[in-house]
Symmetry: C2
Subunit: 227 residues, 2 copies
């Protein structure tokens, strides 16, 4: 058995690649996903497939109780924006932003890491081809790690959990190229914010546009099933 890592797995392209990277680095991977009423809950099915295909030793799915958020953007009937012009300069934070989402996810990952004795957490945050979320930036990951070091028993005892965001500075095309080299089967992954009832991707939301462009730029055939 190798050293343990908690890997946050959304079922999307980025976190699947991160799991493959963690595996390549020799970690025994304990995957963690969340069910939080996302309209794209088909991604949890993808997460399970991805975890199995990349040899994770376990995959836990945790329910996030939304009562803290009232009727928030998580579940509110806000239309997912379509056919954005494809530029994501980070100057505007879109309506798909979920308050404190990555902070909550990382907090659970941190707690799980302490319980199972994992020294590392991996997250597929990406600050290049992203949608302008503040909690996807390197300075956020650094600040979270500093907070965790002072706020946990492991940290106080000199075994602070490390927070790894290995694709944070990669373009979507570079993420895909790296994943292909590591054997990621991207047909198992799901990115669309607004899939149809059969789980097919809409092809027009920010996440679909980024994904399409990534495969195109990488010169890799896009295995996604669009409506």
């Amino acid at each position: 058995m190798g050293k343990k890592a908690v890997v946050l797995l959304s079922g999307g392209l980025d976190s699947a690649t991160v799991l493959a990277i963690s595996r390549e680095e020799g970690f025994e991977n304990h995957c963690l996903s969340f069910s939080y009423g996302q309209r794209h809950s088909v991604e949890l099915v993808s997460a399970a497939k991805v975890a199995a295909s990349l040899g994770a030793v376990e995959h836990r799915v945790v329910d996030i109780d939304l009562r803290a958020f009232g009727g928030s953007a998580l579940t509110a009937d806000i239309d997912v924006p379509k056919n954005n012009d494809g530029t994501f300069d980070g100057s505007n934070i879109p309506v798909t932003y979920v308050p404190a989402r990555n902070i909550i996810f990382l907090s659970f990952a941190l707690g799980m890491a302490e319980v199972i004795g994992a020294g590392d957490v991996f997250i597929g945050a990406n600050a290049v081809d992203y949608s302008g979320y503040p909690d996807c930036r390197p300075e956020f990951i650094d600040a979270f790690a500093k907070m965790a070091a002072v706020g946990t028993k492991a940290g106080v005892e000199g075994r602070a959990v490390r927070f790894n965001a290995p694709i944070i500075s990669l373009s979507k095309a570079d993420i895909i190229r790296r994943g292909v080299r590591l054997g990621v089967d991207y047909s198992l992954t799901h990115s669309c914010y607004d899939p149809d009832s059969e789980g097919l991707s809409c092809g027009g939301c920010d996440s679909c546009l980024l994904r399409k462009k990534g495969f195109l730029d990488a010169g890799v055939p896009d295995p996604t099933r669009y409506v």
Copy 2:
């Protein structure tokens, strides 16, 4: 209506006092408690009474899903230590430590603050008469606030949520004296980690010992019902 605050309310003595302080400072208080399988879940009943008695405009109770933690100290059948010698020098972190608990609580409070438009979060963390938890120290609160400022939309837009820990440097006796001045009815609060089936306090756990000593030192009659 005043400015809004999210107040983390455990049902215990400390957070009740913090709610009274927030009220005194003119905040419209939105209280948040958590149900996480604590063996002292009677404290949630106390939290509701405290919220009502101190004029909170709402009280939300959020379930924390424990699957991220496997069979952890949260629910594991570990005996609650009794009749500690009464000194809590912070050099040892006790078995009642719950991994990342305050980090998770503050993360939910932060998300709620963003959703309801609150600029302040209040927490009853205390670093004096405490039980050696790393996430009760001022440096932890500061690190959390810094992380929240870079990781949220509010922070990026220059409206970073403030994290207030107004009793962090007070002794238990001073907390009680302050609360009495602000009209806190401590008979509504619950501190014991290991109450009996009728909710009576054990009188011997760390939390009971601290509470007893606090009332004694403050010269205030202890309204707690012990077994």
